[in-house]
Symmetry: C2
Subunit: 334 residues, 2 copies
């Protein structure tokens, strides 16, 4: 029995393409002492995959020849650990592969749920990132205006829906008229601005008549720069990512910073979802409540087939996904 | 009796020069109802003067034809308010003038002290800015490393001395070998780096072997960009000013932001000293304690004569001052 995996053929220096990846057939891995053998079911596709190819971040840099790392939902196939048995559903740091081995103590058992993908979207990394970043860093209050970039993306859609549930005015920024319409109609944002059209500043002024109290930044670059100009005094900028800056070797800084931070007494703060793991139970309870009331719609964008993972990431960086993008490598166990 | 004042002849579009100012002889102002007539003794010279010429900040923009606004220490000469009498020493929003009038309710009575300039340096806007920004925004703890730019400037020198008193490793950044030596020898910083020399990053690495926990930024631009690279996880960037960005129409943003804010979970926060006025009494008590123990040296840079105010500001923007710069318009009352 063979395994398949996708490795980095060559590290990109500019925009990522299919040529940077190789699909390999390899021997089936075998679980060593204290390890489990995992069948990969769903892989999370994130802009962070691209940033790992740029150098060390909160994890070691990915190198040419490596299989692409990924957060994955998997089924235990074989276990050399008393903690796990075949059939268990787990979350693990895997790679873009059909099968991987992992140290049992780094693997987390997941609850049995009807739809595994929900553990990656609304109750998974996307929903948790939105919840913890918005509430712990942004701290919005009913009546405030919350602006979210990449509003149709995996995290942005939940940020806006949570902010609406809290009683905020919510304005999104997304790419293209179709996505903007979806953000307004399907996700219930008060407005969504198409950054690909001219006149971003005029549109921000019109959509945010009372200014912006919380800006949840997924993109960095020019959109960050423009958004800073509309922040109210004591506004909070939640720094979640800089997707506009990952796929280039010529990043651009916001030219109005730090002068505007001083004048407006702004706070900009970065966070990583894992830092808030101690509050995950509270997060899941709140998200379940809002899903039950219909205030949060579960948005997922699932691409089928391991071999389509490179294109799924390239497309994500180009902003083609609506909702949490993942790749399905195998069907949910019945 | 005539008054003299300095007005803006023309707003600068790039570097400030003497040609942007005019020295005028005007009639003596007369205090109206509820007003006081003030003799200006000391004027605070701040990089903020330059930023006010760029547009609205936390105050209305300064326009061509206006007398330059300034925070000043003054003596009451005539009063139409029951709150003040001739001879009172007050702080006021004045202009670059020998005499000004002011609404009595906007004027603050100052304590009688031996040396009025101390109310502008260590116990005034410079010391208070250093104290509130470092403690309330930066929140350093003994054993952490605090990096300060414009370390020989009015605020930076106090920031470093307070951080030393708290038990931190303190590294300054200043322009030129003479100022750096003064920061190390006179102010007791552990190290001071000359940003005008090549190799800023290498020098930061050498001076901050344990990374930087708090960066007190007075300058913005390239120094901010380089400093961000040395921040530790959960580091705090205190945004106090962006002097490198005021005197130019081509500001530069830190290109590594916001990616690095996310990866390192940094917090960048701006503040204005007036926001912390409720804590000024605590600040003054602490500064008096550290002055008494010798842990804080009072640093002042006093330029004599109203007519020298433009050059005092131009020189400040070029980084020529050591300690709090002010202009003496009249002698302290005996």
């Amino acid at each position: 029995m063979q395994n398949r995996q996708i490795t980095i053929a060559e590290l990109p220096t500019d925009a990522l393409t299919q040529a940077h990846f190789s699909l390999l057939e390899t021997d089936m891995p075998v679980a060593g002492d204290g390890q489990v053998l995992l069948r990969v079911i769903l892989m999370s596709i994130d802009a962070a995959n691209r940033s790992w190819m740029k150098g060390a971040t909160y994890r070691a840099a990915v190198q040419a020849g490596d299989a692409m790392p990924t957060y994955a939902i998997c089924e235990v196939v074989d276990s050399n650990s008393p903690e796990f048995e075949a059939g268990d559903i787990v979350a693990a740091e895997a790679t873009w592969s059909e099968y991987v081995t992992a140290d049992a103590r780094k693997v987390e058992k997941l609850p049995k749920v009807e739809t595994l993908s929900h553990l990656m979207s609304v109750y998974g990394i996307a929903g948790k990132t939105a919840y913890h970043g918005l509430l712990s860093v942004g701290n919005p209050v009913a009546g405030e205006t919350v602006l979210v970039s990449a509003a149709a993306g995996s995290v942005g859609g939940y940020v806006g829906q949570i902010a609406k549930a809290l009683g905020c005015r919510v304005v999104g920024i997304a790419g293209g008229p179709e996505k903007c319409k979806w953000v307004e109609d399907a996700l219930g944002f008060d407005a969504c601005i198409d950054y690909r059209e001219a006149g971003l500043s005029k549109k921000l002024a019109a959509a945010c008549p009372n200014g912006v109290d919380v800006y949840f930044d997924n993109v960095g670059g020019k959109i960050l720069e423009s958004s800073l100009n509309f922040m109210n005094e004591k506004g909070r900028v939640v720094c979640c990512g800089a997707v506009s800056q990952y796929d280039t070797e010529a990043p651009a800084g916001p030219r109005n910073l730090p002068g505007i931070i001083v004048v407006k007494r702004l706070k900009m703060e970065g966070f990583i979802v894992m830092d808030f793991a101690h509050d995950d139970a509270k997060c899941i309870r709140a998200m379940q409540h809002w899903v039950a009331t219909g205030q949060i719609k579960v948005t997922e964008d699932i691409v089928d087939g391991l071999e389509n993972a490179p294109q799924a990431l390239i497309g994500l960086l180009a902003g083609e996904n609506k909702g949490k993008r993942m790749v399905r490598v195998a069907a949910d166990p019945s």
